[in-house]
């Protein structure tokens, strides 16, 4: 054994060959809880004893990712992809609905900003300002809830909700772009729906959306697991 006799736990992670932490965490997230330590342990053993000495630092990361990919449960993967596409489509539909409403009945933006200075101003009087946000929040929560009900895993629910946020963001951006190329006057998509200034930097918005997806997806998934535990124990259908 290449590393026999050395106490690796007493050495910093950087000193011993170790796989990318994010890849290992991703694998742990999709594995059944009973397999998390055993399977990642097997893989770590192969990584240190065989793959790293044979492939070197450059090749071994690629090797590890290939192993992680092969260990992704196919049923979980296909479910996660289907759920991501489904809920991202719902996300895009909310944005399109908002754009259509704005095209058919353009918002009086000046009136809105003037109204903000009044004492009796309430954003609740402007449903197009908060309804899309509420709908998107419901989508993230539902995605996490539904996936956790099917996989019995909270982390997969949160990951799918993050993926929904990412796909939804790009889909909405694409829709706005295509609409403008087709000379259709639409609003700023996410910017308008979330009542943001059009000059808000795109990347922070993207990151904030992913974080929102992660938090609400985890919340939905936790609720699903809580309900699941109060019902007779059932095995995931996968």
């Amino acid at each position: 054994m290449a590393f026999e006799g050395h106490d690796m736990r007493s050495r910093p992670r950087e000193c011993v060959p170790s796989p990318p932490r994010w890849a290992e965490e991703l694998l742990r997230a999709v594995l059944d809880p009973r397999d998390r330590d055993t399977v990642t342990g097997d893989l770590l053993e192969e990584y240190r004893e065989v793959a790293f000495p044979a492939l070197g630092p450059a090749g071994v990361a690629r090797w590890y990712l290939k192993q992680v990919w092969s260990l992704m449960p196919i049923t979980t993967m296909s479910l996660a992809v289907r759920m991501t596409l489904l809920w991202a489509a719902a996300f895009a539909a909310v944005m399109i609905a908002r754009m259509i409403v704005d095209v058919l009945a353009p918002e009086d933006i000046v009136g809105f900003f003037l109204a903000q200075s009044r004492d009796d101003f309430s954003v609740l009087d402007y449903p197009r300002r908060w309804l899309p946000v509420l709908a998107v929040a419901a989508i993230f929560t539902s995605a996490g809830f539904q996936v956790a009900r099917k996989t019995v895993r909270i982390r997969i629910g949160a990951l799918v909700a993050i993926a929904v946020a990412a796909v939804g963001f790009f889909a909405t951006t694409l829709i706005v772009l295509i609409s403008r190329l087709a000379s259709i006057e639409v609003n700023g998509g996410l910017y308008a729906a979330f009542a943001l200034d059009a000059h808000t930097p795109r990347f922070p918005l993207f990151v904030a959306l992913l974080a929102l997806g992660g938090v609400l997806g985890a919340f939905g998934a936790t609720v699903a697991r809580g309900l699941d535990l109060t019902l007779p124990r059932r095995r995931a259908a996968m």
Partner: protein
Amino acid sequence: MAEDLGAFEQAVLLSLIKPVTEIGRQAYGRAILKEVQHRLDRDVAAGAVYATLDRLERKGLISSELEAGTIVRAGRPRRCYAIEPAGIRALNDAKAAVERLYVGIRWPLKGTT
């Protein structure tokens, strides 16, 4: 009722009954993967072996228990597998079924170009 075993399931069960490699005798996930690769003489995806082990265990054909991990695997435990009597019966049935299929056929087959 006899379990219908696929060829890969049979390879996994056989590697538990009579491992031919040094590591294969340890009968944990990675060892079984190596043993199956050796037995089939081809590269095998780790995911395929773990999924098969999980399925065979759910069918009651094998059992598993945890063993303490080693330093090289950062102390993470090993899941060691053992074949159950039902697994041996299933293998016997699978072998018998294949032999029945070939009754009356002269081997090797001829007539192909």
